[in-house]
């Protein structure tokens, strides 16, 4: 369990402020647009940025501890394998200099097929191989939580989900929780315990299922479709919120393939997408907000 209370990080002009956040469960995702504070949060939890307030993992206080004494693993977006070292030396770093475990090293090298790479310089391996090596290196250090800052964002969806599933498998086997920062909703398809939405240095909400999302900003990060903001009100659209062939409505276009069809319509000068199942009749669509789910911003 991860517990943050009155947690503040000041980074030049940017301020991250969390009054309280409790993450119970292994698989935690943070979603937020670029500049929302995801990296600041993860780096501060890893001890790489100064913070104030309470940060506990499974009841152990990590506040104010140096990074090497936190037992918190961190994989940044650019992985940061030590390029002058071989892959083997990269993986051995936590064993030589920290609390790393040689048995975990052997198991991971075997499971991830890293044996052929061990003698190669880490600057000479492919991105996919480097991502596996970075995962292995972090897990060998035996973290109690593993923080990942979009480390697989340059991979295609299948490879990315494969790597997230792999981490999930290791998380169960080696007993660590993880927090994975992303801005791609498809990363959530492997399932999650908590989804934390963050914007402008503040937690918008933390939910344990997509159906519990109450904020427009969270939903807009997950899916740009089926959302409308009308005169200061925010709505998640449903099919019954759209009435076709009403002459007072807006004209629409059908876009997308038959299996994944959307209509695009203009509302107060802004274009919206809404998914539909059948081919609607008529040229016009009207938004009936009484059938839409109103959300908080």
């Amino acid at each position: 369990m991860i517990h943050l209370k009155d947690y503040v990080v000041q980074r030049s002009e940017f301020r991250l402020e969390i009054s309280e956040l409790i993450l119970q469960g292994r698989k935690n995702f943070i979603i937020g647009k670029n500049g929302s504070g995801k990296t600041t949060l993860l780096q501060s939890l890893a001890g790489l940025l100064e913070s104030s307030g309470i940060f506990e993992v499974n009841g152990t206080n990590k506040t104010g501890k140096a990074p090497e004494r936190r037992n918190v693993g961190y994989i940044p977006q650019d992985l940061l394998l030590f390029g002058r070292m071989s892959v083997e030396n990269n993986l051995m770093t936590p064993i030589k200099y920290g609390n790393g475990d040689i048995e975990i090293y052997e198991q991971l090298v075997e499971r991830m097929g890293l044996t052929p790479l061990l003698l190669k310089k880490s600057s000479d391996i492919s991105l996919g191989q480097a991502q596996k090596a970075a995962i292995a290196r972090a897990i060998i250090s035996r973290p109690s939580i593993l923080l990942m800052d979009e480390p697989f964002s340059f991979q295609d969806e299948i490879a990315r989900l494969g790597l997230i599933s792999l981490i999930d498998e290791f998380s169960r086997k080696y007993g660590f929780d993880y927090i994975y920062a992303t801005h791609d909703s498809r990363d959530l398809e492997t399932g999650f315990s908590n989804l934390v939405s963050i914007d402008d240095g503040r937690i918008i909400e933390s939910v344990d299922s997509l159906s519990k999302i109450e904020h427009f900003r969270t939903l807009s990060l997950l899916d740009y479709k089926n959302l409308a903001s009308v005169e200061g009100h925010y709505f998640a659209l449903t099919e019954t919120a759209l009435e076709f062939n009403d002459i007072s409505g807006s004209e629409y276009d059908i876009v997308g393939l038959d299996r994944n069809r959307y209509i695009r319509f203009n509302l107060n000068g802004t274009y919206f997408f809404a998914s539909i199942n059948s081919t609607p009749q008529g040229r016009f669509v009207k938004l009936n907000t009484s059938n839409a789910r109103e959300m908080e911003y």
Binding site: P67, N99, G100
Partner: protein, 263 residues
């Protein structure tokens, strides 16, 4: 063949003009007189002078990178506004006219000056004018900024984040710095050494004030010697010495570039 756009052709003349502008005076100097004259000129005192100049410049270069390592580490982790503003002082010596630097060194370190007097009390017999110490301190004042900035850019932009990752893997700050940081900085350290060395080799102004000739041997450092030859023996001798300095300097830079490529 790789296709290039019209901007490439637009900028090509600027590139060509610049390169020609740099190369022309060098070629003119190197071809000003015959090889026989160059060989003859090598007995005019330029070779021992170059030997002293290059070695002293190397010493100053090493001193500069030696200071740059702790300086950069300290500054990269300092948050205080006063310390951050002190960092801008590093470039100050570059903008001060070099003769002024010579005068500054003189009125600071001469045994008759307050600080000099203090040093004299600690080290009886202390001398400053026309000594190796005067050369080293003046050159260090003028050229250390190049080493510090070369190392600082590399460290803060590329190296620190790797050190931080080392710490999340269990390394202490010291281990992470020496195992991860220093090896990653080797290219920047070499670059800093070259820049500082090259700047020291080219120095004249401050040396005219504090070390016109180094006692007791009375040797002049290369820049001073060539200036002296120009005034006393005339243009041909000064040009011949200049050619030898340019050729040896080019060889030294080529050697370092090869080293840098290997790393």
């Amino acid at each position: 063949m790789k296709k290039v756009n019209s901007l490439y052709y637009l900028f090509l003349p600027f590139f060509a003009v610049y390169i020609i502008f740099i190369i022309t005076p060098i070629l003119r100097t190197l071809t000003f007189q015959s090889v026989a004259n160059l060989i003859k000129a090598s007995t005019s005192g330029i070779l021992p002078s170059l030997e002293y100049t290059y070695l002293l410049a190397l010493l100053v270069g090493l001193l500069s990178i030696g200071f740059s390592i702790p300086y950069v580490y300290f500054m990269s982790r300092s948050r205080h506004i006063v310390l951050k503003s002190l960092d801008s002082l590093v470039e100050l010596p570059i903008m001060i006219p070099h003769t002024v630097v010579g005068i500054m060194m003189l009125i600071t370190f001469e045994p008759t000056m307050p600080l000099g007097k203090l040093i004299s009390r600690i080290y009886p017999g202390y001398q400053f004018l026309d000594t190796f110490l005067a050369v080293i301190l003046s050159l260090f004042f003028l050229s250390s900024a190049y080493a510090i900035r070369a190392v600082q850019i590399s460290y803060t932009r590329d190296v620190m984040k790797y050190e931080n990752i080392g710490r999340t893997l269990g390394m202490t700050p010291i281990t992470s710095y020496f195992i991860i940081g220093i090896p990653m900085m080797s290219k920047a350290l070499l670059r800093g050494l070259i820049l500082s060395w090259a700047r020291s080799v080219s120095e004249v102004g401050s040396l005219l004030i504090v070390a016109f000739s180094i006692l007791p041997s009375g040797i002049h450092l290369a820049g001073v010697l060539i200036y002296y030859q120009f005034l006393s023996a005339g243009l041909p001798t000064a040009v011949a010495s200049s050619s030898i300095l340019i050729l040896t300097g080019l060889l030294a830079l080529l050697f370092v570039k090869l080293l840098e490529r290997d790393k």
